[in-house]
Amino acid sequence: MTNMPDRSALILNMALAGQVLLKSDPRTIAVPDGAEGTLADEVLLAQAAPEAAELEYNRLFLNPIGVECYLWQSVYADQPRLLGPAHHSALDWFRRYGAEPQDPQEPADHLGLLLLFHARLIEADEPVETIDAFARDHIVWAAQFAAKLKQEARHPLYLALAREIESMCSDKSGAQAM
């Protein structure tokens, strides 16, 4: 874990990043006790002025004539689409652990869901091989997402999010190489 001070911080920041990706209104994001770092700071700041962050969330991720920060892993495949192989793979991972996304109408390979699941795997003390396997399958790709987000984001919350994800992916890329 090259960029994280400890396991707890990693879990908290990963889960926090997942929430930021899943919730457009920063006031609905629960910053866990003990969460530290730029992303947690930016969430707290955004909660004080939520309108600008919410507008930015819509612009970056939902805007029908906006930018291309797609939230789904299948869109970053060689043949971009929704509900591609990454969706099925993610669903398989979730089900092996008795879980399914709450909303069946949303693709399972949403980066926010993937980060939450990854955090929960670590939290549950799953073997490191398992955690690395999931990262290889479903986290490493997010470096592309982070690069795009870094390029397009204007609000500090999402710039911090891009850096956080970039850091996680960088760390996981290293793990993969091992």
Binding site: N58, L62, P64, I65, A99, P101, Q105, P107, E123
Partner: protein, 747 residues
Amino acid sequence: MSISRRNLFRLSGAAGAGLAAAPPVQAFEDFFQPARSVYADMKTVVSACGTCSPACGMLARTKDGVIQFIDGLPGDAHSNGRLCGKGAAGAGFLYDPDRLKYPMKRTNPRKGFDEDPGFVRITWTEALDTIAAKITHYKTNFGAESLMFVTLPSPDPWLRFMRSIGVVNRIDHRDECFQTDMVVLRHTTGGKTWCNDFANSKYILLFGWDILAKAKLVYANGILDARDNGAKVVHFSPTYTATSRASSEWHNIRPGSDLAVALAMINVIVSENLYNKSFVDSFTNFAQFETQIRTHFAEYTPAWAETLSDVPAAVITRIAREFAASNASIAPSHKKTLCANYNNATQLVHAIAILNILAGTIDRPGGRYFPRTHSVPGMDAVYPPPAYPAPTGRRVDGRDKLPHAAAVDAGIFSTTADGMLNKFPGMIKFAMWRDYTTLAFPDPPSMEKAMQSVEFSVVYDFLPTDTASLADIVLPGTVNFETSDIMVRDYNARFPQSLARSVVVPPMFEVRSIGFVALELGKRLAPDYFKASDGSWINLNTLLDERTRRAGLGENFADFASKGIVEAPAPFVPRTTFPTVGGTNKCQIYVPAFETGNAEPLPKWRPKRHQPDATFPYYYMTYIPAVHRRNTSQNNAVLHEMMSENEALINPKLAARLNLKDGQLLLIRSRAGQIELKAKFTEMIRDDSVLVAHGFGHRSRLLSKSRGKGARDGDVIPYAKIDDFVATRNFGAASCIMDAVVNLTPL
């Protein structure tokens, strides 16, 4: 890798101990639930293709609610068990990452393509409440004429909604498609425009229609079957197409002169008494108007037609004689063809109708026939509505000056920009677009300029079209895989063969059907029209069940869906009465009703709208390529890969005169506007013309594959004016899409 199965839910016992010492990731529980199943759910679903209108049978295989493969439905007589390439690529619409996903509203009041609308996600309730409030506001303060709905008049709940609030201005694209045929056929044969028994034809006469590449598989199968059976296929077209290649002979006709050839053929058949005397005497009004008919067509000789069409008189005469001599001849007219799109198209389809009548093949084997379908009741039959308010107000498209077009509820795309910009500026305050974009209009920049004066607009679509850029609210729509319906199928309908369009996969994200939108807006604005007799709200599923039951297709829709197709094979019994308007059960060659209403009872020669001149010396034509569906498929991953941009197709001889090189950028300029495209040399077009594919030049930033690819063909096509239609007797309101002339400058 072997992975032990655990349960990650903190409260589910087994995992609890393992998690006790870990920091909580509470959000996990917010977004995950205990799994309902472990293994992938595999299904095979019978449904109907929705890429275009014939609704070919489709077999879809799904895993976990995701389509894995789609194929034609074996045993489906309608489509011979096949899907065309566009149909097979249909899942690309469903899984397009760019598709609209949630209702959105604009937060930036400034409108323009260079403005960021600042869309934010809202709930369906907020969206529908806002739309309902805006409709009420504008209708109350400016009358129903201030509302414009850009949509086809279907499905039933949507039509009921528009009627219930007294919509005056509903417009659609049919003036660019088969509207002229609708106007003419109700008077001449009473038949439907797209039932052609090609498979049993012996002589097929095609004016301009690239029937094979247009990829209505139903027709393509029929044409190829006919060829196999020894039929002769004659194709008149300014471009050599897939249909030309499959034809027995192809004639490189001058653009806009099809009417001259058709009139001359009638001249030959009538003057030489070659018509099917038995049919004509028994089932037409020929005898009643014989003097007028013979006199009228006498001047349209093959020699006269040759001077206009470049088709030799001897060839016209020969083809006319062959057409009349065959006992199973057919001349169809149909969508996005030259027939529909020249200013003289109404006269042309009237002439084509006369050719079919003279051949005596109306509702006869090998001819144009009436579809044999199940009788499926509409919403009004199941839930009779209160009387609808009479629509009052001005028509933005000027349709009231063309009563024969009004009689088929035409809504004219080509004249709408003129209405909004010049005739009735500021009249339209509210616009709701459903599955249309400004690309579908001639001169899209003018339509976009007109739209900027609209105070509030809504777009319902499955993709973020260019029009969405100007919208105040965007509603995400379903595609065919996400909806249910009864498909009666009237393209290949020698006997009834209805197909259940079943939901293949559940709707993604928050997309909703237009039926849902109609019902919810109806509840808010016209509740009496959306209640059953017991006072409860109409339920769309109950409506579908009841329509199914009354049509005899099953006990309910689920029962029908379990069967897939319901057929009622029966011998084809030719009609002896023809339900023409004012025709006393006979086909009408001379149409008395066309003596009024800015029409003409027999088709006269009328030139196309614009002729080449010194300033604009070349013909400009557009086409829909085989791999695309109008302007809606360019972002489909598969179809985009097959054809991602358009080019200017030009004959090498003309290119040489222009000193133009293959691949060089070419400026195409008309009186309406200009586009730039790469030149592509082809011998398959006349050397006085340029040909451009329709559907490209999207600008919406989130159409990630198609944006900025190619150019909009419509930018070169002038919008039309209703008074010009009146003056030139374009009484079917043909859109003049093919009438532009241009000059060409290498860049």
